[in-house]
């Protein structure tokens, strides 16, 4: 599903070149459930952004789904994000003026799906996540856990193959965090590939494969020996 070869990403900070990522090699197969852990500044978020095509590596090659996604133009890149990738953010990033339904509907709307079909798919997705009675509520009328589940519904409404989660429980209390993580694991059980960034060891411990990063490098990869 994912193959990263010798990915490097540097940022210019003042006069200095700071390496966010160096020599990253990583392969993720379809259906994997993987966590990326490490202290802040270790480059795990940058890695996730590159995986999500929100950022471009300075060096190296990124193969997504058997295709070189390193140097795509804006349009095909957006196309890939729309159909292949779902994002779950720490701060949910729901649009405050839109209702839960409209937030979940957004990717379908942007893709030009007909309203009747949209409605049906959104209602189904919300019902699946136990949010059917919250459909008309706006984000500020929802609890944190509900918000994150709306965000998950939005991330999965296009049936992407890959879910990228950045600290999905980082902004939630324990109980709702638990709920959210169970939701994510249910998605994995349906066959979606999950890559999750977290610095919560307990959360990381639940995943089948853990990647530990430090100083822009992969320090440890529990699934490395699985690789071909």
């Amino acid at each position: 599903m994912i193959r990263l070869e010798n990915i490097e990403r540097t940022f210019q900070v003042g006069d200095e070149q700071v390496y966010a990522l160096r020599q990253i090699n990583l392969t993720v197969r379809v259906g994997e459930y993987l966590s990326i852990m490490g202290p802040s500044g270790s480059g795990k978020s940058t890695l996730l952004n590159i995986l999500g095509l929100l950022d471009r590596p300075d060096k190296g090659v990124y193969h997504l789904d058997g295709r070189d996604a390193t140097h795509l133009d804006d349009r095909p890149q957006a196309e890939l994000r729309r159909h292949k990738i779902g994002f779950i953010f720490q701060f949910f990033h729901l649009i405050p003026r839109l209702t839960a339904t409209e937030n979940v509907e957004l990717p379908l709307t942007l893709a030009g799906v007909a309203p009747a079909e949209r409605k049906q798919r959104v209602m189904a997705a919300l019902a699946e996540l136990g949010l059917a009675d919250r459909a008309r509520h706006r984000p500020d009328q929802l609890s944190g856990g509900q918000r994150q589940r709306v965000a998950i519904a939005r991330a999965t409404i296009m049936r992407p193959a890959l879910i990228l989660a950045d600290e999905p429980t980082g902004n939630l209390d324990r109980a709702s965090g638990q709920e959210v993580i169970q939701t994510i694991e249910a998605l994995n059980a349906q066959g979606m590939t999950i890559v999750m960034v977290t610095h919560d060891p307990e959360l990381g411990g639940r995943t089948r494969r853990q990647v530990r990063m430090n100083d822009g490098r992969i320090a440890h990869d529990s699934g490395a020996d699985d690789e071909k």
């Binding site: 599903m1 379809v30 952004n49 999500g52 929100l54 950022d55 789904d65 058997g66 295709r67 804006d74 349009r75 095909p76 890149q77 957006a78 196309e79 890939l80 994000r81 729309r82 159909h83 292949k84 994002f87 953010f89 701060f91 990033h93 649009i95 405050p96 003026r97 839109l98 409209e102 957004l106 990717p107 709307t109 942007l110 893709a111 030009g112 799906v113 007909a114 309203p115 939005r154 296009m158 193959a161």
Partner: protein, 413 residues
Amino acid sequence: MTGALRTTAGPMMKSNDVVRFCFGSLAGYPLRTGLMLLAMSIGVAAVVLLTALGEGARRYVTQQFSSMGTHLLIVLPGRSETVGGPPPLLGQTPRDLTVEDAQALTRSSAVRRVAPIMVGSAPVAYGNRTREAVILGSTAQMYAVRDLTMAQGRFIPEGDIRRAEAVCVLGHKLKAELFGADAPLGRFVRIGQRRFRVIGVLTRKGQSLSVDISDVAIIPVASATALFNRSSLFRIMVQAQGREAIPRARQAILQILRERHEGEDDVTVITQDALLATFDRIFKALTLAVGGIAAISLGVAGILIMNVMLIAVSQRTGEIGLLKAVGAPGRQISRLFFSEAAMLSMVGAMLGLLIALAGQWVLVRLFPEFPISAPLWAPIAAVGVALGTGLLFSVLPARRAARMDPVMALSRR
């Protein structure tokens, strides 16, 4: 993974979804939206109202000219080309126009009527009331030439032009000031040192450009010659046989007067149509200028829209980042912001037109005799400029939104 990647671009976002989305974001920031609508609508209203005023002024002047009479030619002493300096309207003259000159003009077949006009000023007294008034010396012809109407009595009678009959016709206002409610007909007023019998009163016709006709006394031209002790005319008003006869009449006048003035072209002939056309041009230019100034205010509104849209873009970075993350390409995002600006300018323009209509309605009620109406092109141009500036000035914010780095946009919470 097996399934081949979809390379074709998916279907575009549906346009009523675009409208709904933009409407939502506009309604989400009511103060900002309201301010922009206000700026836009004031700009549009200003364009429409100011051009309506300019157009009204033009029509007003045109009306005034036609109230002078029809198929008119005005003969002035002096020749604008040769005299140089101030135009002959001021009456500086190398050779006077005389009553005989005026009489000679009737020889032309193109000329229907001729009214010599002498102008002076003298105190007019009745009883113990005295008013300083403009005294016009003329003939019976003036009645038809100037298209006058009588409120009471009759105009100066036909007859020998050299007979200095002691009769006068009073303007409406002068009559009211001298006589109040008394009946003036048959009474005697004193003009200068002479006594004149009042034989008529003019109707209230209002201004007639050069002279306020309500504030004059009209006496036979021979009487005026005697009263002011001079024979030079202020001007000769000539009525042509018809509209087509005006050029012929002009030629005839110039020729006759050249013969009478020893071969010198020392008069100026103004045709009413030429004068009217000139004023028409002036006022059209004025209307355009005023409209242009108002259009600048629309431009300012456009810049305001740009400003506020830029703020909107930075306020909504999170939203933009999210749109990118869920698969909106840059072009789609700029299209969304663009549509937002377009909707804003459109609604603003419509509001502006409504304000302009209301303003016109009020003005028409306040000044009923002033013909205010916006020319048809004004609202069209105003709405066009509003949309144009709105769109033009949203290019930059929309571009900025489209080019925003999604990582940066999403990192802010």
